[in-house]
Amino acid sequence: METMRDIRNRMKSVRQTLQVTGALKLISTSKLRKARRRLEDTLPYFNGIKDAMRDIIGHSEEHGQKWFDPRAAKKDRKVATLVITADMGKAGGYNHQVIRYVEESCPKGSILLPIGNVGKRYFMEKDYVLVEDFAMTTKEPTVYEAKEIAAFAVSEFLAGKIDEFKVVYTKMHSIVKLEPVVQVLLPLDAKALVEAGESASQVTAAELGPDGESPYVYLPSEAGLFDALVPQYLKGVVYGALVSAFASEQAARMTAMDSATKNAEEMLGRLGLRYNRARQAAITSEITEIVAGASALED
């Protein structure tokens, strides 16, 4: 049988855990509020830029070839994936979901650009080629970081070092519904953009067809336009993915810490009962001993 001291020690440790989870929950709640506001500010741009790109690509007649050429015929195509995870755990299934998604969708030996410590440490041990340039943290995503990533992707793609560039991040449908998604950014592909399309977007797949609408006029020229457009587009989409992942991380952490706090409270309640029972048992046995001792003296 547990002694009172054992239970008291257990309760102490549970109470300490409770403090940690409670504090983390509060932190992530306030961060989530901020991150959601940011996400709401970015979403019109993020979705708009994707819609616009889809629309532009869908209506252009001959594309700026270098951005579209899928190099499908090439053997062992090099696919680079930007993987956005958190810097720390304690976020429920958030990191694990992204990692599992990447393992399922990226063949061994492909190139990964990990963002966030958890993903980086995990994939370091696995059969993936890591590019260390982006050891930046996911703390507060900035447009500047997105710009650097986009510039890197563009230069590697144009140099032929990578044949495909995609990003895996977590999309927040609601606080409780987080889902890892993949978005192919390069080469540009109208079909892939439509498949990845948001349900809320105004552009429908039908609009992409040969609908008799006049094609766009491009300034300065079609090729020149895409040279200017693609880095802007990538920057916007990468930033949107970073912000979305950040908000998802906070939501996941808040939910996880909330249930951890509840569990700890429940456990404290159960331990309290057991503690009282043990205390009573101790008192009872003490009384029994005293009574037994007294009656032994009387005899």
């Binding site: 741009y45 708009g48 629309d55 532009i56 006029v217 491009y218 920057k235 916007g236």
Partner: protein
Amino acid sequence: MPDFSCEILTPYRRFYSGKAESVTFVTHDGQIQVLAGHERLVAPVRIGQLKIMVGGKLRKAAVTEGFARVKEGRVDLYVGAAEWPEEIDRERAEAALGRATTRISTEAMAWRVEASRMAAARALNRIAVATGEPASPPSANTNQ
């Protein structure tokens, strides 16, 4: 004057959303003014002044790089940043200009010099829009 719907989006916020009668922005070879009924067009937007005519009133704003899409009845601009003159932090822009100017002369790497030049152009543009003076000297606002 006939109008069209116009949206100006930045990663930080929806800068403008509503009707407009004309939108003017800077692109590769100078300013473009878009009126209602303009043909479909996609063009890169460069650092410069954005002029938007709403209800007969001309409003100016400072914008950075991005692109514009013009289609039937609507004009959408996707830019890195956009500010009305009253929102511009003049001191911050001037400090940025100072930093960028020193970097242009001290940096060795070409792309860093390039980045500094862009930063200087952004700062100059902000200052020009904030003070309401005509656009900054062409030598500094090359956008090259």
